[in-house]
Symmetry: D3
Subunit: 230 residues, 6 copies
């Protein structure tokens, strides 16, 4: 099985990180292909960045679909699921966003949970996904004010900041699990889980799992309306 991990930003080190996260949970025999956006932004931090990122992943999908071995599944590896509907509509394979996957997964292990995203100006990207998933009655959104660039080469230096925000989510929002609100934060999962005593959900791993689950169930994207093939 071939699965493509689409990174809508241009930071190759983040593509490497999300590919590692994907490989760590992919079922045996899966080929994981990482795609870094061309001509987009180093981090998807604004609505204009989102347009660039959506365009870049759409073009990447068109190229993969035209190739000899189109992927069976796509994972959109950017918190906010930028461009996801376009990917769904252009791809023959299934497509799953890291944000929606993290939300659905969290809902199975916790009644309430919190996203900790970054930077603060991207808050609405998370809120929009929470509303699309319908989970605003169970999920709060918090932000720490660091740019995406701050995690491009690793995120362990932000552990204490995430621990502090997670403790506030526990105390103020009654959060019972934490969703990491950016791609490339996999190395935070274990220490944060340990520090907070709560499940910590990383979206790329969750999305790979969901995408492979869809294929195991023999399901494909519905072509009956919203996501009909363009």
């Amino acid at each position: 099985m071939r699965i493509a991990i689409l990174n809508p930003n241009t930071t190759a080190s983040m593509t490497d990180a999300v590919v590692r996260a994907a490989r760590a949970v992919a079922r045996p025999g899966t080929t994981v292909l990482g795609v870094t956006a061309a001509g987009s932004a180093p981090g998807i931090e604004s609505p204009a960045d989102e347009v660039l990122g959506a365009m870049a992943v759409l073009q990447a999908v068109h190229k993969l679909e035209a190739g000899a071995e189109p992927p069976h599944a796509y994972v959109l590896a950017c918190f906010g699921d930028t461009g996801l509907a376009g990917v769904r509509c252009a791809a023959r394979g299934v497509a799953v966003g890291m944000t929606e996957a993290a939300l659905l997964t969290a809902s199975l292990v916790a009644q309430r949970f919190a996203i900790i995203t970054l930077p603060r100006r991207t808050l609405e990207q998370s809120v929009r996904c929470v509303r699309q998933a319908g989970l605003d009655h169970r999920c709060s959104v918090r932000a720490i004010d660091e740019p995406v660039a701050a995690v491009a080469a690793g995120s362990l230096h932000l552990l204490q900041v995430f621990v502090d925000e997670g403790r506030r989510a526990l105390a103020e929002d009654h959060a019972e699990a934490i969703i990491l609100g950016c791609a490339g934060l996999t190395e935070l999962v274990q220490p944060l889980q340990l520090a907070l005593g709560l499940p910590v959900i990383e979206g790329v791993a969750a999305a790979v799992t969901q995408a492979q689950g869809l294929l195991a169930l023999g399901l494909q994207t519905s072509r009956a309306g919203t996501w009909s093939k363009s």
Copy 2:
């Protein structure tokens, strides 16, 4: 890996059917164990039935947890997810309901979808799950007025009824996928999908996939609040 499929009703033929559905999608090396409720009702059709079913599955979980080889995962195989929170709280392993799993899975392949449940008096069981999942803006609930007993020995004789209701869901609710709203309807998946041209989601298969996904991700039920161990 051991996974227990909990049937809250007393109809053994339905347990057999859901175990078959589970085995068909379980990852290689999985032991699937079916449990039929003792002292419950032949079908969970009323709130009083739900109390009996919830009690029966809770007792079954306590027995399995006290055994030599407690399951790593539980699937609640009754549409309405009767007793799910109790199971989550009593089990060390993860627990997933067939209704929530079907809903989350549907949300990844269709923007809008419809549950077709039975009998009509159980409508609220589905509505309650849709609201808990937060998907009332994307999921409609329809019912056909057949008792659970009508599907205890197979459901193919109801195919045309489901096709008719599915067509109404497509026309009136703009449904892009269909969720089968009762356990034991696996044999309807393929012919209904063929007749409607829409993805058809069966909850037990979806729940097994979700439960195994949680384990693959190394996640456990949060013990921080609502579902803390009793």
Copy 3:
């Protein structure tokens, strides 16, 4: 008129307290019967406790219904209204939960109000009732972290804790009335009302009043769908 007060937990002193609360407001000529759950938990603090409590009250209702003088009304005396739908479905008489009754009553004397429940892990039981009643736009939920056992023999020692939490509800949630979020807190009503200058609503008294109101209006539980007789 006969009214049965169902205590889903096994703590007889709490049954005594709720029966006293019921008698204090019951119309003249009412026989108030208290029922303590058998085989449940001393306090309903987790989803698993809720299953036990729901089963215990359902069995109690079946016994009363089979008796010579079945009650005209049932009051479920546990915050969270555990097992209420099952009771409605099994009983010929009307049935009212203390939580729903408190919420409806509060909505007639205040635009906004707050529940103060206990312990913290039961928060979701209250939230679930607020959503079922549809009052999340007017009612906040707060918890103090004391076990139900702490109020089994009286609650006056917690007055200051309730006053403090009530003041936060007033300042932060703009609460205009307070709902006591546990059975057996009747003795807090007057002193808390005095300290806060707000109406304080106790659910058992409210539920008795609502149940007797339904009978005065000649109304019975609808058997047309959700709560049809099993």
Copy 4:
């Protein structure tokens, strides 16, 4: 105990009807006083009528409050609860609207229910009350296109129209109870209940019951915020 029934319209026959409805359910020893609006409209059918009706009842309350024997409770006998907040704020006694009372009462005997109001242009008055009560997930609103004047002298001639609309509510909205959406329809309760096999709720009776329940519980309108005394 003295209870005033406020009719915001100028049709005295409707005041007579609502006073009869109130007396039929008032607790023994209650003095029921009917008040017909002065200078308002014969039926409250438009937002401008609502302003007139609200003004008329506010003036009536001021007069009663200045009198020797101010009422212990007020019931607003107009579907739409026109001017209710003003009454609450001006009266020392409690105040209950017939619409909110009908909604709360219905929620205790049915999971879903429908209002049948008249005329069609007043639909929004009902919808507004349903949203204020938070019951839009359980209550549908239907209208028959007859003016309020059509029921000023009795409503039995409209029985078949209500039966037909009620059957549609049952079939299309899964309604399990019906709320009569206008004052003065008491004589429809029994025959409609018989024809539909569903509980039928009349708001004035419900409101009297709720108001007397509040007094039995020793509750008064909160003066802490929204409804503080002007």
Copy 5:
């Protein structure tokens, strides 16, 4: 073009202020007419005040409509839009409330925003407007506890209080714009905008702009249902 600015309270200095605010943004050639309520209250601070204010503006509209030169548009210059539906229904011209206009305008320049209203007891008036506009997912409501009288002769002395509350809205609610929650605060717009670095929206100016926009589009109030002519 003639536009009437309706002040539902009796404070003539506030009428002067709102007329100045209206004239500052009215299109060239507009005649702006200010109307001070007769027989209402000096500030609309309670539901009873709202009834008086609604009645006063309805009577003013009837008088203007009966005059030789009825206005082409009405602006309701009271935060809370008291009596707006009545005005819409009585007037031939269009009618716009300052609260709805402020909300709609804010939604075009900010994803999230906050109302700062006064006094605290009027909070619900704002909340009601936010819900009618459907913007509760984007707009928070805050109150400072000053009476309307405090701003009758000017509001600059409250600048620091508004700045402090605005900073809390920015930090806690992620507000990106501020709505001034009372008529007569025009002189706060510039200094508050400067201090906070956020757009500040004044409702009377917004409403004049919206009303004139409706006329430019050739639109009139729909007479098909809710706001049909009485």
Copy 6:
């Protein structure tokens, strides 16, 4: 004043039509500039088309902003407001979408209203805008199944189809106004209004009016969070 009308699709005749619609309502002295997307699709009918359209308008804005005379305002002339947030973030001037403008305008002349969009597969684009505006409690969405191409050269041949769908909206949704759910339908406004007796709202005209209103009020897009300058 310079205002740019952005057509995200490549059909020049639709640009001409929206420019005409804009000029018809623009204030005197306004320069209206039409921009046709390059490299997008002839109609924005799918999520993939939306990505292309968003990218095209973003590039158009960047070019205009880099020019000698950047516009003071932008109007996004595509139902669904594709790419609007990106435009807001890239432009110095204000930006308004035709869908949000139509919705806000409709809310001032009707309590309930309906969008009639096309083709059916774009339904979700409208639904998404309605939810972002918060108007799902007042606005229904209907679709006729004609491609955008069917209206590229004029829409009068579809009048009867719109009249029929409008009558259903009136009867079934209690719609009191109609929003035309596609750009380029200006010529339908008058005949549809006449046929239905309801206000008919065209979004481009509404958006021009809103954008010029923002400028008249001295407002600019907030740069404090979501739409901060990229």
